[in-house]
Amino acid sequence: MSAPRGRLFRLCQKELRETLRDRRTIITLIMMPLLVYPILSMTLNRFLLNASLGNDPRFIIGFDNDEEGQWLKDILTSPGSQPPAAIRKAVDENLAEFSYVGPSNGKTLDQILEEKLIDVIVRVKLDPPQSVRIISQGDEPNGLNAKRILSERLTYFNQSLVAEALSTSKVPALPQIDIQVEQIGGVQKTTLLASIIPLVLVLMTITGAVYPAIDLTAGERERGTMEALMASPVPRGSVLFAKYIAVVTVALLTAIANFGSMFVTLWTGGLLELLVGKDQPFPWLQFLQIFGLLVLFSGFFSAVLLALTSFARSFKEAQAYLIPLMLVSLTPGILSLMPGVQLTGALAVVPLLNIILLSREILSGAATALPTIVAIFSTICYAAAALLLAARLFGSDAVLRGSEVSFAAALKRPEEPAPVPSLSAAATTLAMLFPTYYLVSNALAMISEWSIGVRLIINAVALILVFGGLPLFATWYSRNQPRTTYRVSWPRGTALFAGLLLGLGLWTWAHELFVFGEWLGFQSLDTSKIEQINELMIEFRKIPPWLIIATLAVTPGIVEELFFRGYLFSALRNHLSASKTILISALLFGIFHVLTGKSLLLERFLPTTMLGLVLGWIAWRTASVWPGIVLHVTHNGFLELVACYRDELEKWGIGVAEQTHLPWLWIAGGSLLITSGFAIIHWGSRIGCEFINRRQ
């Protein structure tokens, strides 16, 4: 029995009401932002004032020739260019110092500036009317400071000239020195924002989530409400989900309050341009981006915190668990401040670090689709696994007994066998499988020097190890019965035949969906990639067809079906309706096929998800994984053979270009096969013989 939607809403409402009335939450939510940021702002103001007034900074100025350098040096050392006495006193006479360099090693000044060996270039026109151009690198804070200080000092110098002229009753020719400032390279607008915000996001969401996470889990036990709650007929998952929503909401509200206060403080203090860049419009888009990132961070942290606090029996114990987590979480936050670390390859699946780097890239406008989707999807997987683990632990035997609670106890291998995997075990497997698969695909994409035949074999072995090995290990570890877990019971012969028909026909629909997807804009292959694929196809036709069938049809057909329509399907079906199980397994099937290797194959999403829906439906109707295997192997094998013998087919007048619609006769033929397959399965198979054992 799952909690009705209305009741789930009221559960969330109660958790939120309870949390938001708690004065400790209010302190975190309101007092912190109200007090901390104005104080921080004052400190920052003081710091910036000191920084702007010198505080012994040293800058390196590049000149085209010594004459220009000497001219500026004379001005900067003259008393007229010095700041007013009050400012000099405020910084204890520590004014900025400058070194002067010219072009060297055959490099131009612009190149040296780009390499950040100098802070600014100054180009002087010595003939009257004199002018100075101060050039800085767009995203270099030192350069910007040097530029600002030089402009100020030259302005003081101009003012001193005016004052001198007035005192001697001369009429000065204004302006004496024309000061121009320029920027080269990137525009300075989000550097500081993009560097600081990820760290701030971590701090704010954790700050907001910690207290409600502890209070709503360990607090239940401490105040003696746990037993009464567990004695009520509401699934533990629903209770925990309501708590999760409450924690996410409070984390979000806290982070929004913090950000609001921070921005208002910076705005009113005139410091906002430090974050968003000078003369930039109000950063509405970045606000929206930050909000999206906040949801991601809050969702992730709330799930992880709940998983940890669900172990605990008291506030103290929960706090002891959370302090190391907070320290560990700050490390990737600090890493994100390092310029060399980027969201690519393995880093896209490292929990927390991936979303921190993603924040930096989104805010600096450098985010690309594949790592973004990989980071978001892997984070959702991690959060789901953490939440399901929390649901398993919360109010469990151990917590209720209050004697043998430990991480080891939660991860202990069960003593009794179970017919199908639990949802938390499946989510954990998925959370491990996804990054492993992504990393392996990435590694395999790099070994391009090997022949295509070898690469195909390695790919197949990797698929068996990852998709086959990890779930198999999970099955063994959880003592799940393989027959019911992988749903390998033998179906009727007609179901296998129907799988064959569908396998032969479905590619036509898949092809049309592929073309439709491209029409919708699901196109990630540019011309160069299509050319690469065409070159690959030429090589592809040189290898024996049996190898192609074995590695691209039989292996994925068996391994993927055993995972998606076996392991995952049985775990989902034990808790969800058939339609939800089919839909979720199909979506995951689609997503896994999009995120492959180093490319984001968006155009594969629609056809693969459609195939996943059909495969899921068959798996449900026949209560077996075998018809799906037949369909999958046939479908892949048929497509691979068509690709392999494309030239021969074209000689016979059968065109199979990827970007065009199929002839209507082909679609009609495919549809006939599909309809026959569906009809056989629908009327020829029974439902209800699959194993369902819904228990808390």
């Binding site: 029995m1 009741r7 309870e18 105040r223 009464a228 808390q696």
Partner: protein
């Protein structure tokens, strides 16, 4: 109404397994109050938690109104009311909000829940407390709120775990009246207690639990006949004296 058959639970410890409950069987009919008695650590609470579905039994089963705890845990939970001495409150909710929240957990229609809350609040004398914050209640007031919570969904069976522990004489009297009320309502009730004097006055039948074993079961008259003793306390002392191991302490390790 309430059937327990060969219910067993053991816990794994470093040197073996502890048999916390060892093949206990009992049944309670509507309108009957069953006293499950024993010293601390006898297995009373573990038995109740298995009936409630909070602990999964290692052997045997418990049934409430025909539903097994291991097969239909949520059905069983919906048919049970549970009151324990450890029951706490949500300090930041009002009493009304908290009790209606529990009614909602048991899927009681909102209007019906409000009506029932008013009736029970009058009965247990908490009507004036309904809009007070639960965290601000005294121990006695909390206890009465907890008693109302156990009945808010009008369950056919009630489990009471040491309901008088830590209460003064007024609080204890309230519990007695409450149990009498439950009997009048025709509920099947199991009361766990080690207060034998109270049990004699309250319960229709008794089960004497010691180190996970149900040693005696029956009405007071039947127990007197079996043991030749007049008072429950005497029967109990005999039981503990004849035992090999210390009466209060770790259970048998197998």
């Amino acid at each position: 109404m309430l059937e327990v058959v060969a219910l067993s639970k053991w816990f794994t410890v470093p040197h073996g397994r502890i048999h916390a409950v060892d093949r206990i069987s009992l049944s309670v009919q509507p309108g009957e109050v069953y006293g499950l008695m024993g010293p601390n650590g006898a297995g009373k609470t573990t038995t109740l938690r298995m009936i409630l579905g909070l602990l999964v039994p290692d052997d045997g089963y418990a049934e409430v109104d025909g539903f097994r705890t291991t097969v239909d845990p949520e059905k069983v939970k919906s048919k049970l009311g549970f009151v324990s001495s450890n029951d706490g409150v949500y300090p930041w909710l009002t009493v009304r909000e908290m009790l209606l929240f529990f009614a909602d957990l048991y899927a009681v229609e909102p209007e019906l829940a409000k009506q029932r809350l008013e009736q029970l609040a009058q009965l247990m004398g908490i009507a004036e407390l309904l809009d007070r914050r639960a965290g601000a209640l005294s121990t006695g007031q909390r206890q009465r709120v907890t008693l109302v919570r156990g009945l808010i969904h009008d369950p056919p069976a009630m489990l009471l775990d040491e309901p008088t522990r830590g209460l003064d004489i007024v609080g204890t009297q309230t519990i007695f009246r409450y149990i009498g009320h439950l009997r009048d309502l025709g509920k099947a009730v199991i009361v766990c207690t080690h207060r034998l004097d109270e049990a004699e006055r309250l319960c229709d039948r008794f089960g004497l639990l010691h180190r996970g074993h149900l040693h005696y079961e029956g009405s007071l008259a039947a127990l007197r006949e079996q043991t030749g003793r007049e008072r429950l306390a005497e029967i109990f002392v005999d039981l503990m004296d004849t035992s090999d191991a210390p009466a209060i302490g770790p259970q048998r390790i197998i």
